[in-house]
């Protein structure tokens, strides 16, 4: 018998159907991945199971958990089900945890709420749950606060909260998307291990097909609120039957066209020499703790037309290095040179000239554009860097938009009137408009859907090939690095620990940090792609 059965679930809000005829089942101890692009209705399906649908939504269909018809329960009865019978883990552990409550109290609260036992018993149960989530005492005491933990550790606390009453069904909504591959693998091990051990069902909501293939038993593909295909997870490697599934796999495995190799004597556009970036140590009552070496003695040089990847676990100093390269952060040791000129020694006027040579693109396309500015206004902002203002800025904006594959009429839109992929194209256009030598991209494709990501990778590759623009690409995602970059640098704790051509480094990693990253990266197709 199935643990969870969703039959013909439909949900309409206003006049727009958000879910239509969803059928989904999970057996005891089974892991089902719900895969789809943003806005496809993945999260809404999960919230429907919990009875947390938006006000005024009209719902039809059946949701049955272990023979209980959840769709007939009122809100009060559902409150007893949430947390006790169904545990939920959200994407953003920092906002899912209460910052002013200790982790022990937060886990214990779930127990007390549902079982009404004493605080002492609840804390004992919390201790047990945290131990199971691999947060053992005494290192992880019950009296810690969320800010004292790393992202992966916070997600373990969230899992302990979801799992403390050993619910029959666990739902993880993009629970590992914000983590680097090493932490992602550890948290997924924990989630899937717990579900199998307790013979509970696990609904894994992901957009990463490789994660779905490696972790789940079955996958359910969803698009625009409709189930497109349900298949065994292995089918993600061998081929799905629906057209949508095929297209999705093609996009996930998409390689941008090859680029010609760049001559060794190509001019250097930017380099760092023994760069060190210190952050002030934590404030103590008297004086300060020792400074933190975010970037430690790093040498790197980028030649014209090359594409370089920078990888490493969260907090290794990748983003800090990028910001230092853009002259957005001061350095405490060494030099950052753009076209042979030192940021630190440049006058204000010279700094402007340097800035137009090097432009950044950030991870979240929603956050990197001022929400109150039209696209045209955002795009004209960097034009102040040019020696003389172009005579016809509107024409330049139109041309640049076309260069990133957007129609000129987008110039009059506001960011919220565009999709994530379109916004990221605009962010790229803003970086391109000053005709820079180097674009630095900080996780610039991580937030994008598979199909959009494939198009942006093509675009980047084309810029590199046709315009000789160098790319410095920071990412957790080794697949993206593999496809887009010629060389790769690996960072750990502020230092560069390994570098070489991308192919060599990812195929036979030498340093333990690289080996960990390569081993932890999920693969869509284990047979055709090189395994470390």
């Amino acid at each position: 018998m199935n643990l969870l059965d969703i039959r013909n679930l439909s949900l309409t809000l206003g006049s727009s159907p958000l879910l239509s005829d969803i059928n989904l089942s999970i057996a005891e101890g089974e892991i089902v991945a719900l895969v789809g692009e943003s806005g496809s209705g993945k999260s809404l399906t999960a919230l429907s199971i919990l009875g947390l649908t938006p006000d005024h939504a009209r719902i039809s269909g059946e949701i049955v958990l272990e023979g209980r018809a959840l769709h007939t329960l009122d809100d009060r009865a559902m409150q007893a089900v949430r947390g006790r019978d169904i545990g939920m883990v959200f994407q953003e552990p920092l906002s899912a945890l209460n910052p002013v409550m200790t982790i022990g109290d937060q886990v214990a609260e779930v127990v007390r709420h549902h079982q009404g036992c004493s605080r002492k018993d609840a804390l004992a149960a919390a201790r047990l749950a945290l131990d199971k989530a691999e947060l053992p005492a005494p290192r992880f005491g019950l009296d810690l606060y969320p800010h004292q933990l790393s992202g992966g550790q916070r997600q373990r606390v969230a899992i302990a909260m979801a799992n403390v009453l050993e619910p029959r069904l666990l739902i993880a909504d993009e629970a590992t998307s914000a983590l680097d591959p090493v932490n992602q693998a550890k948290v997924l091990d924990l989630l899937c291990g717990t579900a199998r051990h307790n013979k509970a069902g696990l609904l894994l909501i992901v957009h990463d097909l490789a994660v779905a293939r490696e972790r789940a038993d079955r996958v359910v593909l969803i698009r625009q609120g409709c189930v497109m295909e349900t298949a065994p997870a292995a089918a993600l490697a061998n081929g799905l039957s629906s057209d949508y599934g095929k297209a999705l796999i093609a996009d996930a495995g998409h390689w941008p066209p090859p680029r010609p190799t760049v001559a060794n004597n190509a001019p250097v556009v930017a380099e760092t020499r023994n760069v060190t970036r210190l952050y002030a140590g934590s404030r103590k009552l008297w004086g300060k703790g020792p400074p933190i070496r975010a970037v430690d003695n790093v040498n790197l040089s980028v030649q014209r037309g090359t594409s370089i990847g920078l990888i490493g676990e969260s907090g290794c100093g990748k983003s800090t290095l990028l910001r230092a390269l853009c002259g957005l952060e001061p350095v405490q040791g060494g030099q950052v040179l753009v076209k042979g000129q030192d940021w630190a020694k440049a006058s204000v006027g010279e700094q402007r000239a340097l800035r137009r040579r090097i432009q950044p693109v950030f991870q979240d396309p929603g956050a990197s554009l001022d929400p109150r500015w039209t696209i045209a206004r955002s795009l004209s902002e960097p034009l102040a860097l040019l020696d003389k203002r172009p005579e016809n800025p509107d024409a330049l904006i139109a041309v640049t938009l076309q260069q990133v594959g957007l129609d000129a009429h987008f110039a009059n839109r506001l960011p919220h009137q565009m999709s994530g992929g379109q916004r990221q194209r605009v962010a790229l256009a803003r970086a391109l408009i000053t005709k820079p030598d180097l674009i630095v991209l900080d996780e610039a494709v991580s937030a994008l859907d598979v199909s959009v990501r494939a198009r942006i990778l093509d675009l980047l590759s084309g810029l590199c090939r046709d315009h000789g623009i160098a790319l410095l690409f920071v990412s957790h995602d080794l697949e993206v690095i593999r496809r887009l970059t010629d060389q790769v640098l690996v960072m750990e704790a502020g230092r560069i620990v390994e570098q070489g051509t991308t192919e060599t480094v990812l195929a036979s990693p030498q340093h333990p940090a690289t080996q960990r990253l390569v081993a932890a990266t999920p693969r869509l197709n284990p047979e055709t792609e090189p395994k470390a």
């Binding site: 999260s43 006000d55 700094q351 402007r352 950044p360 956050a367 109150r372 960097p382 102040a384 962010a427």
Partner: protein, 281 residues
Amino acid sequence: MTFAAPKRMRAIGPRSLKIGLGLSVFIILVTLLALVWTPFDPLFQNPDARLMAPDSQHLFGTDALGRDVLSLVMAGAANSVAVAGSAVIFGLAIGVPLGLWAAARSGWRDDVVMRGGDLVFAFPSLLTAVMLAAATGPSAFNAALALGVFNIPVFMRVVRGAGRGLWSRDFVTAARAAGQSTRSISIRHILPHVLGLVVVQAAVQFAVGVAAEAGLSYLGLGAQPPAPSWGRMLAESQTLIGTAPWLAIFPGLAIFATVLALSLTGDGLRDRLDPRLKREV
């Protein structure tokens, strides 16, 4: 996806804004009207009509000097609005730029500005007004100045707090990479985002200013006789409150209505502008 706020919040927010705005508009209209017309000359003393209870001719009665209380209340509104309004403008003019500057410059410069604000906050505003009055003589201008000084740290904190968060956003970093100066980013990116909060705070400070001005006038530290003022009307009514309660009731009601109108407007605007209560579907 954001979910709808509980029903209670949704019901109260717009209604308080409507009532507050309606009342505020009414008060402003009366204030403007009083500049050109009042039922009687507010300064005209009629010895034959002293301490008359409200009737059809003198709707709010008359005071010990035979002046029409309705005319005095109407004319007093200008004083309250002018003092509280200039105090708000004074606070905005200095507090907002300082707040923008503190948000942009972290470290010791931020510390100096914000601790300076704390220092002003720690000082009772009434005491400052008394000291100013002792040094330069009591006047409406001094009252506005004393209240305005205390508005500076209020606006500074609002702008700095919200602005600080914006400085770490990617679009600001992108603007820096596009070569924009700190000042240009503060004015073009940060200010438009914090403007909503500033407007809300201005309405609240206006309300506080009206009440505080009444307090200062009551102590004789505001507008000087014969200029009409609600606070001083209250002070003068004190000895007669048993025989002529209308002398205290009507200026009191005027203060109450004005503070209520502005507070409701401020709260209503806050609910409207607070993104946490905004509904997106």
